[in-house]
Subunit: 346 residues, 4 copies
Amino acid sequence: MIQAGIVGGTGYTGVELLRILATHPQVEVKVITSRAEAGRPVHELYPNLRGHYDIVFSEPDLDALLACDVVFFATPHGVAQAMMPSLIDGGARVIDLSADFRLKDIATWEHWYAQKHACPELVEMAVYGLPERYREEIKRAQLVACPGCYPTSVQLGFMPLLEQGLIEPGQLIANSASGVSGAGRQAKIGSLFAENSDSFQAYAVEGHRHLPEIEQGLRAMQVDASEALGLTFVPHLLPIVRGIHSTLYAKLKTDTCDLQALFESRYKDEAFVDILPQGVFPQTRSVKGSNVCRISISQPQGRDTVVVMSVIDNLAKGASGQAVQNMNIMFDFAENEGLQAPALLP
Amino acid sequence: MIQAGIVGGTGYTGVELLRILATHPQVEVKVITSRAEAGRPVHELYPNLRGHYDIVFSEPDLDALLACDVVFFATPHGVAQAMMPSLIDGGARVIDLSADFRLKDIATWEHWYAQKHACPELVEMAVYGLPERYREEIKRAQLVACPGCYPTSVQLGFMPLLEQGLIEPGQLIANSASGVSGAGRQAKIGSLFAENSDSFQAYAVEGHRHLPEIEQGLRAMQVDASEALGLTFVPHLLPIVRGIHSTLYAKLKTDTCDLQALFESRYKDEAFVDILPQGVFPQTRSVKGSNVCRISISQPQGRDTVVVMSVIDNLAKGASGQAVQNMNIMFDFAENEGLQAPALLP
Amino acid sequence: MIQAGIVGGTGYTGVELLRILATHPQVEVKVITSRAEAGRPVHELYPNLRGHYDIVFSEPDLDALLACDVVFFATPHGVAQAMMPSLIDGGARVIDLSADFRLKDIATWEHWYAQKHACPELVEMAVYGLPERYREEIKRAQLVACPGCYPTSVQLGFMPLLEQGLIEPGQLIANSASGVSGAGRQAKIGSLFAENSDSFQAYAVEGHRHLPEIEQGLRAMQVDASEALGLTFVPHLLPIVRGIHSTLYAKLKTDTCDLQALFESRYKDEAFVDILPQGVFPQTRSVKGSNVCRISISQPQGRDTVVVMSVIDNLAKGASGQAVQNMNIMFDFAENEGLQAPALLP
Amino acid sequence: MIQAGIVGGTGYTGVELLRILATHPQVEVKVITSRAEAGRPVHELYPNLRGHYDIVFSEPDLDALLACDVVFFATPHGVAQAMMPSLIDGGARVIDLSADFRLKDIATWEHWYAQKHACPELVEMAVYGLPERYREEIKRAQLVACPGCYPTSVQLGFMPLLEQGLIEPGQLIANSASGVSGAGRQAKIGSLFAENSDSFQAYAVEGHRHLPEIEQGLRAMQVDASEALGLTFVPHLLPIVRGIHSTLYAKLKTDTCDLQALFESRYKDEAFVDILPQGVFPQTRSVKGSNVCRISISQPQGRDTVVVMSVIDNLAKGASGQAVQNMNIMFDFAENEGLQAPALLP
C-alpha cells in the first residue's frame, strides 16, 4: 500500500484520479490540494465520491507531499514546474498530467505555451509516459510526463506504421474530435451546454498546443529519422462529455503489408490497446470510463491511403487512467491494477 | 466462487449484469442465453466487454441453467414464468429482473400485462427484492422478483414517511423521469436518437404498468393499513441514457417531525441509500453506473407539502445492480461485493 | 413598419428577438445595446444572423432608444427599472422581458430579488403580458411586463381550471423542467456542458423567484378569491437547450366536468395555445423555435387528481416570442405576424 | 401559386419539406403520399405541423401527382425510378431527393446500390441539383436529382480549389460527420438514442454510397480532366439530430494563392454559401434549420496542406432546403423564397 498526493484536485482529471484510486487496492490518497477549495471535503464537490472518501482539500504543502510515495499533478500548465525542483530534490516520484515536461525542446515549449519554463534543467530527466513505447524507462523514472489526450490517441494509431516505415511521413493527417470535458471544469462561455449541445465544430485549426507534442512523439518512432515528418492536426469539439476519436490518414509506401496483422502483432501484449477485427470501427462509448484504446485499420477501396481510427476516454487513457497505469509500472504493481472495470455501455 | 447463468443477455440489463459481474470476485458467468444471437461471442455485441469475456450466447437449455448456482432472467415479461416451474423444481435459485413475479395479485398482473400468468402457484413464494425492506426474506429466498426501476426510486423515497404514518396516503404524487435505456434495446421509432434528443415529454400518463407495483409496495409500508392509499404516477422520458429521477409529493399530517433526521436514521445502515445534506439535490449523473440511490427531502416554504427527490441508475439500482445486491444477500457475500466502484462523473 | 430598440442584446433572449424579428415584415431593429460588446456586429457573436443584420452593438443611449417605436429589455433584473422612468416620460412603449415589473407587490419583489425597487411608482401601470388573459390591457399598454418562462407554462395550464373553480386551490403542484438556455449565456460552472449533459436534477426547491409570480397570476384567475391558494413549485434542469415542460397536479372538486372540452373551448380562439387530443402528450421539441404552447389534460385512472402537461420553448413563448406577440397586439399587427413558422422537428 | 406533390412524406426529409413549404408564399402542398400512413393527417405524425396543414397522407396516385406543378420524391432509392417514366411522360416536373438519378454511369449506380436501374434512359436528362454549379441547367430541367447530404458539403468545399486547379486531385480527403437524422426515421437498433448518445464513431469506412457521387461531381469541376482524381471519404456519426460537418484536406500545388479571397469571390453571389472570416470556424448549429452552407479555409502552420471546413443542415441544404431552392430556380421564384429564416441558435 502506497500513499498518494494529488496537486490540483478540483478539475476533471482530479476527480477521475479519485474515482479510479477509490478501488485501487494498493493506493491510499493522503493529500489532495486546492487553494480555492481548501477545507472542503472532496465529496461536497463531487457527489459520486460520497461514501468513498473522507479526505478534505488542503493548501499545497511541500512536506505533506514529500511524505507521499507518489505525487500527481492534475493542474494547468505552469503549476507543476514551479514546485518540481523541490519535489525532485526531496526524492518524490512525480506523475505530471500537465504539459510542463512533455516537450524536450525548451524553446518549442516556451513558444507554444507563451511563457518561460521554470525549470528547464528537469526536462531531460522526465520520461514521456506512453507505456506502449517507453515502459522500461517509466519503471525507473522519478518524473513522468503524462501524454496529452489527443497525443495519446494519435501516437498509438500511427506507431506501428511509423516504426515499420510503411507510410510517407511528410503528409500525415490527424482529424481528431474530443468531448467537452477536455476543456476542463472552468467557467467559460465556449464550454456551456447551450453552446455545445447539438453542435459540432473544428477549433484551433491553425495550431493546437498538442501539435508539437505529437510531432515530437511521431519523429521518435520513425525508422528513418532523415525523412521529414509533417502532421496536419485538426481538433474538433464533440457534444459528448468523455471521449476522443482520432481518424488518421497517411499515404502507404507499399501495398504488400497486412496492416491488420501488423497492428495485432505490435499490440498483442498490451493490456490497454485493443485492435478491433477488420471492418469493425470503434465507438468512443466503448471506452467510456476505461483505460483502453481501441483501434481499427482500414484501406478504403484498396487504394494507397491507410485510415486508422483510434478511440480513448480523454479523462482515462488520455489523462488519469494512463497516469495510474504509469504509477502501476513505476511501483511494480500489476499494470492493470485498479483499471480492470469494463467501460460503461450503454 | 459461484456460477451464474443469464437468460436473455442481449438487452441492456443483460450487458449491465455482465459489466458488473466482470469484476465480481465471487461469480463466474457460465451460461448466457439468446435465441437470436446463439453462437455469437458476447463481446461482438458489446465491445466494452472485449477482453473480459470469452463466453458465447447459447440457446436456452434447462440442464445448463440448473448446473448454475444462480440464474438471472433479464428478459421481457412472460419469459421467466414459462421456464420457472422447471427451474424451481430443479432447485435453482432465481433472480428475475422482469415483472413476472412482482405482483402478488394474479388478476392485477393479468390485467396490466394483458396475458394469462403461466405459473400463478409460484407467485406466493417469490420475494420482492427490495433489500432495504425485505433483506431477511431475500436471504432465504429461492425466487427473487427484482423491483422495477421506477418502483425502486419511488418506494425508497416514500418508505420512511409511510412507515411512520407522517403523510396523507390518499393523495401521493410521483413525478418520475427516466433515461431512454429504460425502453430497452429494441428497434422502435419512439426510441430513436432523432426522436428523443433535445426533447422531453410525459408518457403512459393514464396508467403505467409500474403503478400497481408501486402501490402494492407502498401499501405494505403503511403503519395504518386501513387508510386508503392512492398514487398519481406520471413517468417522463429524459434525453439521457441512464438515470431515473423521481420527485415525490405528499401532504404532511404533522409539522413537528425532523424529516432530514428521519431519513438519515432510517437508512443509516444501508450501503446503497445515501441521504444528501439539506439543500443539496441529487443529480442522476451522481449515480451513473453505480448501485446507489441518492435522496433529498425538502419542505418548500415551510408549507405542509413534503417533496422527496430520489435518483438511481435505472440499469443499476433499478435493475442489474439491485439484482447483484440480491444475489450477494442470498449467497452471504458482502452486500456491496462487486458494487463498490463510484459513479462515473463527469 | 416600426423601429425597434433592444437593450441588452447579447443574451439568449436577445439573439432570439433578433432571430424572430429578422423575418417580421413590420419591424426594423434600429438599436441594440451592449456595454460589453459595443462596436461589434451582432453577427460576430451570433453566426446564424450573418446575412440578416448589419447592425452593431452600441452603448445604451436614451435618445436613440426614444427614437424607436418600441423598446425591448432583454436584460437581467434591475436594469430595466433603472432606465424605465426616462423612457416612460419620453413616451416610449416598452416591453420588458425581465422580472422588474411582474410583481405588483413591491415588498414581495424586494424580498425575492433582494434589492430595492428603483421605480415602484411605475409598477402599477405595467400590464402583465400574458395575452391569453390580458389581451385588452396589452393593446393599450405603454409598459408590458413579459411573464417568466415557467410562469407562462404553469399559468396557461391551470387557467381554465381555476377560472371555473374546478380544483382545490390550496394544494397545487407544478413540477417543471427547463432546458439549460434558461440559465442564460453566462460563464457559470453549473451551466457547463460537462455538468449538465446526460444528467437531470431539481434545483431551487426551497423557493424559486418564479413562485410568487405564478401565485400572483393564479390568484387573479380564481373564481372565488376567498379560497387560499398555495402552490408547490419544483423546477428541474433538463439536458436540452430549449424547452419547458410543466406537469401540473390538482385535486378536482367535481367529477362531472369534461376537462378536454373545457380546455378546447377556453383556448379555441388562441393562435398560440394548442390543446392536444386526449391521450397525446406534448413533447418539448414540438414547439422548438415556435411561439406555441401545447397542452394535454389527463385524469389518470379516473381518480380525482387532474394532470395537465404544458410545453413551451422557454426562449420563444417563454420570452422573446411572447414579447413579439405582445408587440403585435400593442401595434395592432396580426397577432401571429413573424411568428408563423412551424417548430423545428426533428 | 403552384401546387406540389410529395411522394413518401413520412420520413425526415418529408416533414422538413412540409415545414419549409408551410411558409412558402408561392406553393401549396396538394398531395402527400404514404402507403403505410394513408388516411392519417400529417399533423398526427408530426405535431409541429398542427395548425399548419389539414392534408392527409394518401396512397400514391399518378393522376393526383400529374395534377401538381411539381413532384418531390422523399423516398428511399429505388422508388422514384419506378414511377418516373409515367411522370415524365405526363409532363411532370420532378425533384428527386433520393439517389436514383444522381450517378450518370448506370453500371456504377447498379454496383453501389446493388440493384438494376429501372429507367436508365432517363438518367441522361436528369440535372444534378447543385445550384452553385448547375443553376442554368436547373432552370430548364424537367427532372432534378438533388445531391446527397455529404456530397453537397464536400463538393461546395472543394469546388473553388478544383475549378482553379490549385490542389493535387489524387489525394483528396473528406472527413465528414453527420447527425443521426441522416439515417432516416427507421426503426433500427443502430439509430437508437441509447446507442448514439454520448458517443462518436466512423462507419462505412470501406466505401459509402456517396463516394461515387462525390467523385463524379469533383471530376466535373477539374480544370484539367486528365489528372486522376481520388478521394478518401470517411463518414462519422455525430450524437446530434441535424448537421453535417466536413473537414477536407488537400495538398496545395502552389503557395501563392489567396485562398480566402478565392472562396469569397467564387461564392460572392450565392445566397446560400457563406464564407466565414479567416480564423472563424463553422459550427453545425449555425445552420440548423437553414439552407446555408458555411465554409472556412485554413492553411495550418503555413504548410502545403489546405483544410476546408464546411457545414450544412443535412435535412435542409443537404436535402429538403436544397430541393426547395431547386424548385425556386425551376419556377423562376426568388431563389431564397421560403428559405429566409435564420438558423435556430442556440
